[in-house]
């Protein structure tokens, strides 16, 4: 049995100490050749944070261009490149890798395993994802980044209309990183289903593992169609094939179907792990068990399945038949039911609890309040007639940023603040965390709130400038100011991450008085995770250890 307090504390080998003690060259060699799930997880998160900064700079440049009507800051071509790269970066090289990274680090620890099922596949997945990202960015040195939008609608991507190599870099980069993502999904499923500690039945796994399992399932079914579609684009461009070549009978419509068959589940791939993280944080900081574990698990599965059948709600304006419009509108609205179940279960977990507003919980509240609004605008857009009016307007841009930042990003920050002490052995500064939270919260509302209004006023997405007579400038200026308010919050976050490595208060093994297995090892965990194989009897194994007189398994 694992003990709560380790009698023989293992040598602390934080990242900083690692590098300092053995020299940078040795550390670099170790990190580039590692197959340890913890180091790979950290590298995934660091990669995502670097790409987050790059994607953020791209967003700021676009907002600068849109501050005044008829501004000439960067011009139309660069603007096109920026929104393409911003979307691509944020979805493929920030969103997915940061969630995969946290999953990589945490899952074996939470399941009581020594490593992921396939450590070398894990390392391969990280490096190929990174190189995919670098390949997409290499297009800049050819003098032409892709100018096709993150969804790369055909026939704009055909050789006839787009002769610069940026699109090829884009397709190849996504193809390669997609293979890495499938590798990660295979690894997660094998680890969760095949490597749990003795006694940890599927009804007892930490909730984060449930969501990672279904996210991986979605990756398995959603990413290969994108891979196939990217191959088709490349064949069209390089070999003269005709998949999307409308002059020779090809179909632009097929691209939209294939892309959104990936693209819609993708947003659930980006939100399900976050549901898992907040489901770990909220109970601990409310001092209550997660309300309705079984319902939450079933709702996760329902979301994973239903969301595979709703992709064409991105295509109402393409001119599908009325029958298809009705089906896809209804199916999209149905997703709100399991999501609502989850939402009320989180509220029920908080209700009556002793809530402490430390930084992880603060970000959970940010997540709850903002994701709710993003979900509601999503329901609005799922209604086909409403979508006819606002499709491809800034309302849509506001909606999905509200979900992806208000949902994914706030939840991810909650996870990072929650697990940072475990990973580094140091606490983050609460004061800086609060600055981070409030600047981000206010800046976020100021950035993406006005987008809904400019959308309703008729501003289309992806335009590089607009005429003053349209009366959009006030709303655009508010948006840009919001982006400027957000910017320092990210700087504070990064500063906090780095400075706390050296100056942070040393963390004990279980600083939040939590209940899952990762908190039974030392902080940071040793390379083999657990000295002895933990044995699990309930959903809160650490509660059982702390309260041998009143263990959970009596009631489950």
């Amino acid at each position: 049995m694992a003990t709560v307090d380790h009698p023989q504390r293992l040598a602390r080998s934080g990242i900083a100490a690692d590098a300092a003690s053995r020299g940078w060259a040795a550390a670099l060699h170790e990190w580039t050749t590692t197959v340890d799930h913890k180091k790979i997880g950290i590298m995934y998160v660091l990669m995502s944070l670097v790409f987050l900064v790059i994607g953020g700079i791209e967003a700021l440049l676009m907002r600068w261009q849109l501050f005044y009507p008829r501004a000439e800051v960067i011009g139309p071509n660069v603007f096109n490149q920026l929104f393409t790269m911003h979307g691509t970066t944020m979805v493929f090289f920030v969103g997915m890798p940061i969630l995969i990274g946290i999953g990589n680090y945490m899952l074996p620890l939470m399941l009581g395993a020594r490593d992921m099922a396939f450590p070398r596949l894990n390392a391969f997945g990280f490096w190929i994802t990174l190189f995919g990202g670098l390949l997409v960015y290499l297009s800049f040195i050819t003098g032409a980044a892709p100018e096709i939008g993150w969804f790369a609608y055909a026939p704009l991507t055909e050789h006839t209309f787009d002769r610069n190599a940026g699109t090829d870099f884009w397709a190849l980069g996504l193809l390669i990183s997609g293979i890495g993502t499938i590798g990660a999904a295979v690894n997660f499923i094998a680890t969760i289903l095949g490597m749990r500690a003795p006694g940890m039945t599927m009804r007892k796994i930490p909730f984060f593992a449930w969501t990672m399992l279904w996210t991986s399932f979605q990756m398995l079914l959603a990413i290969p169609p994108l891979t196939a579609a990217l191959v088709m684009v490349l064949f069209d461009r390089q070999l003269g094939a005709h998949f999307f070549d409308v002059q020779n009978g090809g179909s632009a419509y097929l691209w939209q179907h294939l892309f959104w068959f990936f693209g819609h589940p993708e947003v659930y791939i980006l939100i399900l792990p976050v549901f898992g993280m907040v489901s770990e944080v909220i109970p601990v900081f409310s001092r209550k068990v997660l309300f309705g574990y079984e319902f939450m698990a079933a709702a996760t599965m329902a979301i994973a399945f239903i969301s595979l059948g709703v992709w064409a709600h991105h295509m109402f304006c393409v001119g599908m038949s009325r029958t298809l419009d009705l089906y896809f509108a209804a199916a999209s609205l149905i997703v709100s039911i399991p999501t609502g179940i989850k939402f009320f279960n989180w509220l029920a977990t908080i209700y009556g609890g002793r809530v402490s507003l430390q930084s992880p919980m603060l970000f959970c509240f940010g997540f709850l309040s903002m994701f709710l609004i993003g979900g509601l605008t999503g329901i609005m857009l799922a209604a086909a007639p409403f979508d006819f009016q606002l499709s491809d307007s800034y309302f849509v841009v506001g909606h999905f940023h509200w979900v992806l930042i208000g949902g994914t990003l706030f939840g991810t920050f909650a996870g990072i603040y929650y697990w940072y002490p475990k990973v580094t052995g140091r606490m983050l500064s609460e004061r800086l965390a609060h600055w981070h939270f409030w600047l981000l919260y206010i800046g976020f509302i100021l950035t993406f709130g006005p987008m809904h209004v400019s959308g309703i006023l008729g501003m289309p997405r992806r335009i590089y400038t607009y005429d003053p007579s349209r009366d959009w400038e006030w709303w655009n200026q508010l948006t840009t100011i919001g982006a400027l308010v957000q910017t320092p919050s990210y700087a504070i976050f990064v500063y906090n991450l780095i400075a706390s490595l050296w100056k942070g208060k040393p963390a004990v093994d279980d600083p939040w008085d939590a209940w899952t297995l990762e908190w039974t090892t030392s902080s940071p965990p040793p390379s083999y995770n657990f000295e002895t194989q933990p044995i699990v009897h309930s959903r809160r194994p650490l509660w059982d250890l702390k309260h041998p007189d009143d263990p959970d398994w009596q009631y489950e």
């Binding site: 690894n187 094998a190 490597m195 399932f217 959603a222 196939a228 094939a241 294939l258 263990p551």
Partner: protein, 206 residues
């Protein structure tokens, strides 16, 4: 007055779980992603059927007889690999090697058949990937399947080489089993391709 300390509750015994092991889950989920990939290519093939503006069309270009022969090779190889796996499990290494080599030979025969077919299609019937939509979707679908067969043949050849050096024994059962799952999958995909592309070309009025 003090109550006597109650005995601590004793946790129940843990029953061992019987499911697939991690490696088997890994291969199973990888194959699920492959199903999604090939389904997409088949959807593209079917979408464009009958929308060509120039020939040759499937009915003119494809030889059902040749495809039937290559299909037989793959179906037979699936049977051989099944028995090869059983031989290894029983510890009969000699017949494992023999059956395994037969599987590889049938896989190679399939590839040779495909190469012959493609040579005919390209040089006799002037069907290339850029010729028309049929060529585009046909070469992509059949080509990716052929790539998977090639990967399978290479993986099986590595195992055969190791087995010849005595390095594959009963304890490598899981690895051999996973390769055989992959091979069965490749065969099932081919049967679907055969029905949709070859039988469909002769049966439907395309």
């Amino acid at each position: 007055m003090t109550e006597p300390a109650a005995a601590l509750p004793i946790p129940p015994e843990i029953a061992p779980e019987r499911t697939l092991n991690a490696a088997q889950w890994g291969m199973a989920s990888f194959l699920v992603s492959e199903v999604a990939f090939f389904s997409t290519l088949i959807v593209a093939y079917v979408t464009f059927l009958g929308r060509d503006v120039v020939g040759p069309l499937p009915a003119e270009a494809l030889s059902l007889k040749l495809a039937f022969g290559t299909t037989l090779c793959l179906v037979a190889s699936s049977i051989f690999i099944h028995f090869a796996e059983g031989a290894l499990r029983r510890g009969n290494n000699a017949s494992f090697k023999l059956l395994w080599a037969a599987t590889i030979a049938l896989g190679v025969a399939f590839l040779v058949g495909t190469a012959y077919e493609w040579h005919d299609l390209i040089f006799e019937k002037q069907l290339t990937i850029s010729r028309n939509l049929f060529g585009t979707t046909y070469y992509t679908l059949v080509g990716f399947h052929g790539l998977h067969v090639t990967v399978g043949v290479i993986a099986m050849s590595i195992i055969l080489l190791l087995a010849a050096r005595g390095a594959i024994t009963k304890e490598h059962e899981t690895g051999v089993q996973l390769v055989s799952w992959y091979w069965h999958f490749v065969d099932v995909v081919w049967i679907v391709v055969f029905l949709v592309v070859y039988v469909g070309a002769k049966g439907g009025s395309v």
